[in-house]
């Protein structure tokens, strides 16, 4: 199927009458996913958004329930957002990140109603990346600029039009309803050419990385690696796969709510126990956790790497801590594999 670029605002306007539609919106020097009220507001040519799309499903601050105690007793309300949504213009790395988060919020032991309800009610329409940035390394972590994991439709930008690839039944339904025309062979060829030309130049070799991480918990390399890291939350909060949270009560007198906020393993409070003991006493243990969680623990638990290669942490770290360099340093380190 194919849709002309000039018909996109119209297509989005129609969706808006039925769904909450989220799309990248221009914010001075970057774009962010926001709910749009008009199809014309979508900024689709600006590379990836500053913050990942995870926020739509797993908001930075989420009210789990609110409560109120009065003479009549206690009242509790736990609203779950079940509005139908469309995410338009999501990049393949962010779409894939949601399939990773699914492991965390939907598994044998636990199903998170807040996240899952949103996931189940959302249609994901992605746009492939014609010119991957120099910091993108999706192809090194089982992704790619036209990868369809986590998507219902994938649009391939061929200049004046998008060639539409149907990925799921949900996607087919929405494409048919929109009445997209069939793509001519020439259009399909153009899409194939675009895909071929979009080269991800940055390659990160992760062969043997997991084997190293399996044994190097006590290795001296961690002393060096973390040294310049400031221990802020920028890389965590900008990462599409980071998912740790902290739960706090915000209450005044008899009214309150329980809120789930994003948390970061870089923070000193992250694993601080009620007793005052903290198993991660310094930045060294915290930064090690960041790498271990993404490239070892997540792999142990779910058989996938918790990094989609979006490069946000690389572009935004205030001290240019570059995860590609860190991984290469670890891989090249002398950690004993037999211990």
């Amino acid at each position: 199927m194919i849709v002309s670029k000039k018909d996109i605002p119209n297509f989005l306007d129609k969706l808006i009458s039925e769904y909450q539609v989220f799309a990248p919106v221009k914010e001075e020097t970057y774009t962010l996913f926001k709910q749009i009220c008009s199809g014309a507001d979508a900024a689709l040519d600006a590379g990836n958004t500053k913050l990942p799309a995870k926020e739509i499903f797993f908001p930075q601050s989420e009210k789990l329930f609110s409560y109120n105690v009065s003479e009549e007793g206690a009242r509790l309300e736990a609203p779950v957002d079940d509005q139908k949504k469309v995410i338009f213009g999501v990049r393949p790395c962010d779409a894939k990140s949601l399939t990773l988060l699914d492991n965390v919020f939907n598994n044998d032991k636990y199903q998170d109603p807040y996240y899952l309800t949103r996931r189940n009610n959302t249609i994901m329409i992605g746009i492939g990346c014609n010119s991957p940035a120099s910091t993108c390394f999706c192809t090194s972590v089982n992704g790619g600029p036209f990868d369809t994991k986590g998507l219902d439709l994938l649009l391939v930008d061929t200049g004046d039009a998008y060639v539409v690839e149907v990925v799921s039944d949900k996607g087919r339904e929405i494409a048919e309803k929109a009445g997209f025309a069939a793509a001519a062979d020439a259009n399909k060829d153009a899409a194939a050419k675009v895909k071929q030309d979009a080269v991800v130049t940055c390659q990160v070799n992760i062969d043997g990385l997991k084997a190293k991480l399996d044994v190097n918990f006590y290795d001296s390399i961690w002393e060096k690696i973390h040294e310049k890291c400031l221990g802020c939350g920028a890389c965590t909060y900008l990462c599409p796969t980071c998912h740790c949270f902290d739960i706090v009560d915000e209450a005044t007198d008899c009214n309150g709510c329980r809120v789930r906020n994003w948390d970061s393993c870089a923070f000193p409070l992250f694993t601080l126990h009620g007793s005052g003991h903290n198993p991660r006493t310094s930045n060294k243990e915290r930064y090690r956790n960041r790498i271990m969680h993404k490239f070892k623990y997540f792999v142990d638990n779910f058989n996938e790497i918790a990094c989609v290669g979006c490069g946000r942490c690389i572009k935004n770290c205030p001290v240019n801590m570059d995860i590609r360099v860190v991984l290469e340093d670890i891989r090249g380190s002398e950690a004993r594999l037999d211990s």
Partner: protein, 318 residues
């Protein structure tokens, strides 16, 4: 710059070889175009990786507090001011610190580069005297460096290190006084306009605390935002008022301590205009107490002195 790099390497190697210091903290070439990254050299071979460029933007004073080892630091003007302030606060032992001072006339702001290129990605930046060449996939543009400098560098009057043990290169010509025109312009707006602007800026805050952590003066063992008993401030980034409160308290805590290095604003991933607040404080401290942070070793820190003539406009109407 190449000359400075060579000089820095030599100085660092000498210090390490002669065992005058255990460690040299400086910059190595980073992984992005024209990006210096903080670097810790413990051997002469490692010191060979040290460099100097318009991308050495971090304030290295941040790595110097409460160290036990003997350290040399490659420090530009603003780093040195922060170092002086930290020495006065007993966070740095001057006897264990060797300052390799580097005169600085400004660092390049990558956010400005990106804004100028309007979405095109810069793949290489080459310094060429007063200009810099920005190169990308299908373009090459020559831009005046002064247009790309961090706003803190445009305002900076202390690019020359005020204290050093060894100076790299030569001192640069002194600049005139800072007129704080930006602060005054903002102060002249109506309260409603100011409130609206701050609300817009701080609605972008994601509470990553990169600003706090990049600031050499923010070193409380427990930051008030992290404390949960009592909970001084809401933890949710969705509340713009709390985001403003966080920053306002941070700024108050750095009264007379902030060297206007701009490290906080440089660190902010969301591009929030943090210096609007920090500079208001710098301006107030200067006007009320005629004090400037870390400009010499002798002045007492503004918060550590009291004179009977101190103005108290906030207590009594004068």
């Amino acid at each position: 710059m190449q000359k400075l790099t060579a000089q820095i390497k030599d100085a660092a190697k000498k210090l390490l070889e002669e065992k005058k210091v255990d460690l040299v903290i400086g910059f190595a070439e980073g992984s992005l175009p024209l990006r210096g990254t903080p670097f810790f050299a413990r051997t002469s071979e490692e010191a060979d990786k040290l460099t100097w460029s318009r991308g050495c933007e971090n304030n290295l004073a941040n790595y110097l507090r409460k160290r036990e080892d003997k350290v040399a630091v490659v420090a530009k003007g603003c780093d040195v001011r922060s170092i002086v302030a930290l020495i006065k606060e007993n966070q740095i032992n001057r006897d264990n610190l060797y300052i390799i001072g580097v005169p600085c006339n400004g660092m390049i702001d990558r956010k400005k580069v990106n804004a100028m290129l309007g979405g095109r990605e810069v793949l290489a930046m080459e310094e060429n005297g007063d200009t810099v060449v920005l190169k990308g996939k299908d373009f090459s543009e020559t831009v005046n460096i002064t247009d790309l400098l961090h706003s803190s560098c445009q305002d900076c009057r202390y690019g020359n290190p005020v204290v050093y043990d060894e100076l790299m290169g030569e001192l640069l010509p002194e600049k005139g006084e800072d007129d704080f025109a930006d602060v005054k312009e903002f102060a002249a707006k109506s309260a409603a306009e100011r409130r609206a602007y701050l609300a817009k800026e701080f609605s972008k805050c994601i509470r990553c605390y990169a600003c706090r952590n990049a600031c050499p003066m923010c070193y409380c063992e427990e930051c008030f935002v992290d404390c949960s008993q009592p909970e001084w401030i809401g933890k949710s980034a969705a509340n713009t008022e709390d985001n403003i409160l966080f920053q306002v308290v941070r700024v108050f805590h750095s009264a007379g301590r902030c060297a206007d290095c701009g490290a906080c604003e440089r660190a902010c991933p969301m591009g929030i205009n943090l210096r609007l607040l920090t500079r208001k404080m710098v301006n107030d401290v200067k006007e009320l107490f005629n004090a400037e942070t870390g400009v010499n070793m002798d002045d007492k820190a503004a918060l550590a002195t009291f004179t009977a003539n101190d103005p108290e406009p906030f207590l009594v109407k004068e």
